[in-house]
Symmetry: C2
Subunit: 238 residues, 2 copies
Amino acid sequence: MNILLLPNTAKNSHTFDITDTATLQHLHQVLQINIGDIIKIGIKNEQLGTAKIADISPTKVVLSDINCQTAPPKKLPLSVVLALPRPKVLRRLMLDMTAMGVEQVFLVNSYRTEKSYWQSPLLSKIDDYIHEGLQQACDTIPMKVSLHKRLKPFVEDELPAIIANQQAIIAHPYANNSFNQICQRNTPTVMVIGAEGGFIPYEVDLFAKQGCVPVHIGERILRTENAVSVLCGHFLLA
Amino acid sequence: MNILLLPNTAKNSHTFDITDTATLQHLHQVLQINIGDIIKIGIKNEQLGTAKIADISPTKVVLSDINCQTAPPKKLPLSVVLALPRPKVLRRLMLDMTAMGVEQVFLVNSYRTEKSYWQSPLLSKIDDYIHEGLQQACDTIPMKVSLHKRLKPFVEDELPAIIANQQAIIAHPYANNSFNQICQRNTPTVMVIGAEGGFIPYEVDLFAKQGCVPVHIGERILRTENAVSVLCGHFLLA
């Protein structure tokens, strides 16, 4: 946690009461706060800034002098279509993609996605992971995420509007073109990435028919988390 | 597992017996092998190729027609000096850095490294994680890893020889220069990365005195795993 992210309701206040256990624990054990300390904060969907620790009691920390006038970092010009990965990997990916500044994520089904992943209780915690990612990276604007349990209708009916006026690529180990040949930096991009086992040829063709160019990133096949960070990192380092 | 990596002792054989439980499980449950199937293999420190499933019994699978004549993918011109992270993160980082083709990793102590991390039983499994990474990425040449429990002697006595004739950078959120300004692609590089909490200013100065240029990757602060993948990915996509 590099900033404490307050809810949007704090935006017109100068004070705020923190009562949730996880945050109190972090403030006491990691930041080891004392009255009078200044901490870095952000307000959801608003600006970054600071607040002062005004009071500490066993179940509450009171912030005062809330002052947020710094714009959050820009998002990347990047949307990701991601085959739903297994639950533990989903958490880390939501966190990391938020931290890197991905604008939007479409979680889709795929042949190799286990049906049980769609029943995972972790799916209902996606907003928590995004919150964690914002606090990690000092950002205040949540990444948008939507779930699409049926791949073919998503690709045929929704994807065309999503990729209009953007470059669209599908990262796939057995593609003919390389990422470097095809992908321009600093260009709004929709990137499609498979999860464990990747997409099957039928699915790659579905995406390709809509204009997604299959690209590989070399001979090395990376785990999904690793591949997502490498690919998004290209835009971060642009 | 995208290839099955056989020990170097298999290099002059045409047959090999697989008896270890984890591999047998993968062959049966994931690859669902039958007699006559051709599988992708590699021989440690040698080439990539194929073998045939010659026989299947409850505790053994026999490979025949071992034929390895394809060179493994090139390594990246990259060594990483990494503050020892917590054990679960260490496993994934060893796996991912191996998969991406990092040549060498120096695991070092830092002020913010918990002393208990150096006692973790997972430290003795580093070779297993590298093995996993090679099988993931279809590589056969293990990444070199060494442990350095005392940071100052490492930086003052060993690092100069390591960074001779290479560009050396230390990734640090509060650096003045950006990675893009400083880091040239396709150039042998030593990259220094902190773990949870990063390096303290004293440690950054220690590295800087030896010629490591502090660089940031923008306003966003990433988790260690995420940062490592983004930074190494720069060389992978070069």
